[in-house]
Point group: C2
Chain length 337, copies 2
């Protein structure tokens, strides 16, 4: 009996050893060797080396990620904006009088050019009509239902598959090193929370996004529920990102990843902290496998994902690492062969 | 060599066994046997029993705690209000013109009766002057410095020692059962975050409280920083508690602990969820070891910690468990003999 127990324990010990060896294999197999990959690996190794000069205690290991254009595709339009536009028919079905009212009339017409040039004021009306007025639980169901069938027209796949495999590897690598990974997005917090756990392994409480107020009330059954209202509490973009990080996390990140001027302040704020800090900026320069915009100039700048030359210059001046999608990523999507 | 390895592993296995046995000793030694203790233990055991009808997956294990009057003493005044009053001399030193301006003049006079009857409008001026206008890092230092020397006049101890030992045991018991413990307080989020990790083992990102906006700016050295401003983003009291929970956690709690009408909606909201839910209300009925107020009527109701008869009735009707400090707690403070 004793030798059998010993055998079981030895097998267990061997399994532990093999798990340790496994952890020493390449944590970022979709990355090509280069400055970007090296910076990530060195950051993780040095901040988790007990007794080393750059060691960061586990409680302080916070890494923040922009979503649109950093963790998944943001072209030709933010996924959430597409959701809002495609949700309009259901909204009009519930309130038929909206069919003859702008901007709903234009959206229903399906005229892509007219929709693309709707002014911000009209876009805001569409966002308010599709993102507020329902209970937080109803909203979850509406988004989930849409995500199940909606497909990106270029890649012919659900939006939830359009995440970058190399960034998924970074998320997992950081978490395996006791970093807590947060999304810090200009997108709607409630929207991203619907799928963040499934798509990125990031639970709702680690999604910081633009957030509106809610109203507390009681249903006919006497049960309390929260209704989403259009009052904006946090515009989690640009300077709103460090503000949102302070509000929701209360610690300065050790590592931050972004791709546009919306991420400038988050990267500055992260990099300005003491000790080891990592700031990375993804450059979309891969017109073949994804898109090219910003200083890459493969496509003209659009209203989303702006990454002007000034931001590129700031990256160089402040020691942020620029990730070239074209050169640094061996594979972009999990579905790429 | 092989038998030595086996010996080491057997010792390891024995250690594991003893650790498991240790976990089966009373997790709540400061509680007397009774309905309240039984409810907590049954809740934890049933929600962590894999395959059982009340099992809750670890990701959903969220427990929220009011702070003032639930985790620590709130009488005769909230600690944060005391902080603000005692901070006034430093504020006036920096801006001497305030010495002749109300309400600062009254606070500086030290006339306790006059201070206690300051109208809410004046109190708000004091809160704004002492909680906003500085960087978030300066604020942390100011609060930390005060906490090091300030003492409660009755117990003659630092405020951070006035936490209830039985509630500390509940926090630890829940965490040992993979629950994430959150503070959900009407008090200032930034204030509570200064000491919550040290006092309760609750990290800043798990403190939800009343929160103001911040402004992002750059110092003379070019480094970015956040300044606290008086604009209120979240009044985390009453209906604001479920709203704050949705904003900051994004999940409905499985267990919630409160003590006053400020916690009514949090307890309702928690209890209204599906499956196993625990709602508990602490009754301050122990004039000897702490205080008695609310329906206990040992002291007249004050502006803090109101627990009217109606709330007591709601607890009975909705299955919230009332904790009697006098009867359910064998020991109140760690420093009690």
């Amino acid at each position: 009996m004793r030798s059998r127990t010993a055998f079981v324990l030895v097998v267990g010990a061997l399994w532990l050893v093999s798990a340790t060896v496994g952890a020493q294999t390449d944590p970022l197999p979709s990355w090509n060797d280069g400055t970007a990959k090296k910076a990530i690996v060195e950051f993780v190794q040095s901040t988790t080396t007990q007794g080393g000069p750059r060691f960061v205690p586990p409680s302080e290991r916070i890494a923040t990620f922009d979503q649109d254009g950093t963790l998944w595709v943001e072209h030709p339009m933010y996924t959430q904006v597409l959701y809002c536009l495609e949700r309009v028919p259901a909204v009009v079905k519930a309130k038929p009088e909206l069919a003859q009212v702008e901007p709903f009339k234009t959206v229903l017409s399906g005229d892509r050019e007219a929709i693309a040039t709707l002014p911000m004021k009209d876009l805001e009306k569409i966002l308010a009509a599709t993102l507020t007025g329902m209970s937080v639980d109803e909203f979850k169901v509406q988004v989930r239902t849409w995500l199940e069938t909606a497909k990106d027209p270029r890649f012919k796949r659900p939006y939830t598959e359009l995440t970058y495999l190399p960034m998924q590897e970074v998320l997992k690598y950081l978490r395996a090193s006791s970093y807590r990974t947060y999304i810090v997005t200009g997108g709607g917090q409630d929207f991203v929370r619907v799928y963040a756990e499934e798509v990125y392994g990031i639970p709702p409480e680690q999604v910081v996004g633009s957030a509106g107020g809610t109203v507390y009330g009681y249903g006919k059954d006497g049960k309390p529920f929260l209704t989403k209202e259009p009052r904006l509490l946090l515009n989690d973009d640009k300077a709103g990102k460090p503000q949102g990080i302070h509000l929701m996390i209360g610690r300065r990140p050790r590592a931050a990843f972004g791709n546009s001027i919306g991420d400038q302040q988050m990267l500055e704020y992260t990099k300005a902290g003491d000790g080891a800090r990592l700031a990375m900026l993804l450059l979309h320069d891969d017109v073949k496998r994804e898109y090219a915009y910003g200083p890459a100039r493969g496509l003209p700048d659009t209203r989303v994902g702006a990454f002007p030359q000034a931001l590129h210059d700031q990256a160089a001046a402040q020691g942020w690492i620029v990730i070239s999608m074209k050169n640094d990523w061996r594979q972009v999507f999990a579905f790429d062969k």
